[in-house]
């Protein structure tokens, strides 16, 4: 497929990376941290119940809660509230795993491939971190879905997929083939932006046609790597506001996720990912394969030890980092928050001062830049006033938090932060509502039970009383009969 077949995307931005950027595509491997932190929340921030006990020994790949596995072998030593890489800066219930350093794996030997993927706890390594098994299952309802491998990775400063493709092109293509076989489709569309020339060369050298992989090169537009914009560019289908890729028969998986699936099918659980560590000025970038649950500060220390530029940047600002890329990321204190499936990049070094926002003049530059056709300025007003209903009417859920609007805003308004805040407020309100509904249902049930019990008691009482009366009656009858008999038969 060449450029003429690519559908246009309304909005988005052509970003340019610094020309003198030094991206190190070597895949380093971070040492196994002595303590791994496993936050027990899923992608929708629902808190999960642990199914291990304190002091229990676990093997790598063993389930510790629904959808969460131990990334290495060791002992569960604590169950605490701990910070995690999330913009809310909150703490969530977290299991602490003291690793024993032996890194023993539990084999994944389920017969059904989807069960195997589920048991391997494969989650999307791109953006939202959905359960991959659930995604594939949904797409398979379509019969034969369109398979899109998302290797777009459009945000500057993030190069983990790029490095993976450069270093292991054959493994990537083999993984694509095994996914093609799993889904029963004929081919995979492998979407990659045309500025990743090294990765493209590496893939082309392995003859992708033999793996039924159709490489589609896209001209660079941020954020083509987000699911909805990618599907629009590849197929011309604009997803409806409540649709996901699976709803239109597309299964869209990040390239690193595809490799995880392949590993899961081979029996290896998903215990690590590649994290890009980049200086804030985007001039230096390295890629480190990191176990999930590794504390961010430990990873940072390791990164500083292999790259002097990062060490300098870390010295200049050792208190905060940006989790994610320069556009979609958020600021976070540098602490023992763990690396999760969605932690694709960390930016270190002194951040630029945040300009003071001025009033929105509704110039609609954000509307033009928005890749999913929203009205960010209206959403912003709704978010500032915490008016979730209005935000919903302006399709808050469709927002992909790409940061394009921030970049063009003449008034320096941090729009994306507001949208993230609104999404969070909405989720919280939904959870409260669910809890309230549950509580109301419980109380209704309780009342109903009480009423029923009282009624049953009344009925039973009435019945007993009637019985007693009957008994009294029958006793009287007996007496009368005896009396009659006595009368009939006088004593001789």
């Amino acid at each position: 497929m060449n450029h003429t077949d690519i559908h246009p995307l309304s909005g988005g931005l052509a970003l340019s990376v610094p020309t003198n950027a030094h991206i190190d595509a070597t895949l380093h491997t971070a040492p196994l941290a002595p303590q791994l932190y496993l936050p027990l929340v899923d992608y929708s921030r629902t808190v999960l119940q642990p199914n291990v006990t304190l002091g229990q020994s676990v093997l790598a790949g063993q389930s510790v809660a629904r959808g969460i596995i131990a990334p290495s072998s060791g002992t569960i030593t604590a169950y605490i509230e701990h910070s995690w890489p999330h913009p809310s800066n909150t703490q969530v219930p977290t299991l602490v795993l003291q690793s024993d350093g032996q890194d023993r794996f539990i084999p994944i030997d389920h017969v059904h491939p989807l069960e195997r993927i589920e048991a391997a706890a494969v989650h999307g390594l791109g953006g939202a971190g959905f359960s991959t098994a659930a995604k594939i299952r949904k797409a398979c309802e379509f019969g034969r879905p369109t398979l899109v491998v998302n290797a777009v990775e459009c945000e500057p400063g993030i190069a983990c997929d790029d490095a993976l493709m450069q270093q292991q092109p054959r493994a990537v293509l083999e993984a694509c083939r095994s996914l093609i076989e799993l889904l029963g489709v004929y081919s995979a569309q492998f979407a990659i932006e045309d500025d990743k020339q090294l990765a493209l060369n590496a893939l082309q050298a392995c003859e992708p046609e033999q793996y039924a992989v159709d490489i589609v090169t896209l001209p660079v537009i941020y954020p083509s790597g987000a699911e909805a914009p990618l599907i629009q560019r590849l197929t011309g289908i604009a997803l409806e506001y409540d649709q996901r890729a699976a709803d239109v028969g597309v299964v869209c998986l990040n390239v690193a996720t595809v490799l995880s699936i392949h590993n899961a099918l081979q029996g290896r659980p998903a215990v690590d990912r590649i994290v890009s560590i980049t200086t804030q000025d985007l001039h230096h970038s390295i890629n480190i394969r990191t176990r999930f649950g590794t504390p961010v500060n430990a990873l940072m220390t390791f990164a500083a030890s292999i790259n002097p530029a990062i060490a300098t940047a870390l010295q200049q600002n050792s208190s905060t980092i940006t989790v994610g890329g320069p556009l979609s990321g958020f600021q976070k204190t540098l602490d023992t928050s763990p690396i999760l499936a969605t932690t694709n990049a960390l930016l270190v070094g002194p951040a630029d001062p945040v300009p003071t926002p001025s009033a929105c003049i509704r110039c609609a530059e954000c509307t033009v830049a928005c890749p999913v056709n929203l009205l960010p300025q209206e959403l912003y007003t709704a978010a500032v006033t915490e008016d979730i209903d209005t935000a919903n009417r302006y399709l808050l859920d469709v927002c992909v938090l790409c940061g394009c609007c921030d970049l063009v805003c003449p008034a320096d308004i941090p729009l994306t932060s507001w949208f993230r805040f609104a999404k969070d407020a909405k989720r919280q309100r939904q959870q409260e509502q669910t809890a309230a509904t549950l509580a109301r249902a419980r109380s209704d049930n309780h009342n109903e039970r009480e009423t029923r019990r009282a009624q049953e008691k009344a009925e039973a009482d009435a019945a007993r009383r009637a019985q007693a009366a009957q008994r009294k009656e029958s006793a009287a009858d007996i007496k009368a009969a005896i009396a009659r008999a006595k009368n009939r038969r006088p004593r001789s």
Binding site: V354, I361, N373
Partner: protein, 335 residues
């Protein structure tokens, strides 16, 4: 977004609010110079007083609302609004009403809604509407282009000064000689008397040149990317079509198309007033709809009502539909 971002580094062109405002003012300069040249020192007095009063009023309002004063005035929005208001007023418009209109613009039009970005109606047009309904005669009495315009003549300045303070009567009987209704008004009255209009004889070159100057300024803004084409084009096309429809259905409206577009405030309105981002809708389709609405309403008001010019009321009416248009089109697209 992280504070990590220096925007220029990622190669994205970005406007600043102050850049937007100053570019619009820059685009207004040629037309304003022409207007001062044709209509005399009165225009300059309008501009100066309006801007000074507006800035003072803005500062006071911000002070009362406990907001930072300097950055809000430095962004240029209030100067621009006052400038636009002054351009809509006749040169001989007295100072008293001018101050009233400027205060109405600043307080009623802007700060009662919550200041920059919050107002539903275009502030300059609010000021204009207040003046038009309060001082109808003064608002529709224009000096003829070329009269009383000598800048090097002290006596001339003196008579303007008197005119601005004491109104029409200060000039005595000579006043009628130098005033006229707005050119459009004049055209219309001729039309209504079924007189054949010789357009070029109606002092047209100044007005046409002025409209061309607004058009040139508007094109500059388009090229700079300060405004987008949807509103002006939709407005002018709709106005043209409305005018043609009038001519088709009512033969007494004989004014040819081009003069109809080039007299009056259509060009100024299309490029400088209707495109005010605060009060215009923001998606492409809603903008087309909004521009077309202003175009149609302008021509209808101009032709069928007693007001000499319809752009101001058309803009205000369509401002009221902005929230609806925005919601309508963004939801329509997705649901």
């Amino acid at each position: 977004m992280s504070g990590a971002l220096t925007h220029n580094r990622l190669g994205v062109k970005r406007l600043k609010t102050s850049t937007i405002m100053s570019s619009v003012m820059l685009a207004l300069i040629p037309g304003s110079i022409l207007m001062v040249y044709w209509l005399g020192p009165g225009v300059l007095m309008n501009l100066t007083v309006s801007v000074l009063v507006a800035v003072a009023c803005e500062a006071l309002c911000l002070r009362c609302r406990q907001r930072a004063i300097t950055p809000m005035i430095a962004d240029g929005s209030i100067v621009l609004a006052a400038w636009l208001l002054a351009l809509c007023l006749p040169p001989a418009f007295p100072f008293g009403p001018l101050i009233v209109g400027t205060l109405a613009m600043c307080v009623l039009g802007k700060h009662l809604y919550g200041g920059l970005g919050q107002n539903l109606f275009n502030p300059a047009m609010v000021g204009y509407a207040v003046l038009l309904v309060s001082f109808p005669t003064a608002m529709t009495t224009w000096t003829q282009p070329g009269e009383l315009t000598a800048f090097n003549d002290t006596a001339n300045w003196g008579s303007w000064w008197a005119l601005k303070w004491h109104g029409v009567s200060s000039l005595g009987g000579s006043w009628d000689a130098i005033t006229q209704a707005t050119p459009l008004d004049h055209l219309r009255s001729l039309e209504r008397q079924s007189l054949i209009v010789d357009v070029d004889a109606l002092h047209s070159p100044p007005w046409r040149a002025l409209s061309l100057a607004w058009l040139a300024g508007g094109l500059y803004l388009l090229v700079r990317g300060i405004i987008r084409w949807h509103i002006p084009v939709a407005m002018l096309v709709a106005a043209a079509l409305t005018h043609l429809a009038y001519r088709f259905f009512f033969p007494e409206y004989s004014l040819p198309l081009l003069p109809a577009l080039f007299y009056g405030a259509l060009m100024l309105g299309a490029f400088f007033i209707a495109t005010d981002p605060v009060t215009a809708p923001s998606s492409v389709r809603s903008r087309l709809c909004y521009g077309a609405g202003i175009g149609v309403l302008s021509m209808v008001i101009r032709t069928s009502s007693n007001y000499p010019e319809g752009v101001a009321f058309a803009v205000l009416l369509m401002n009221a539909t902005t929230p609806l248009l925005d919601r309508w089109f963004v939801l329509d697209k997705r649901l």
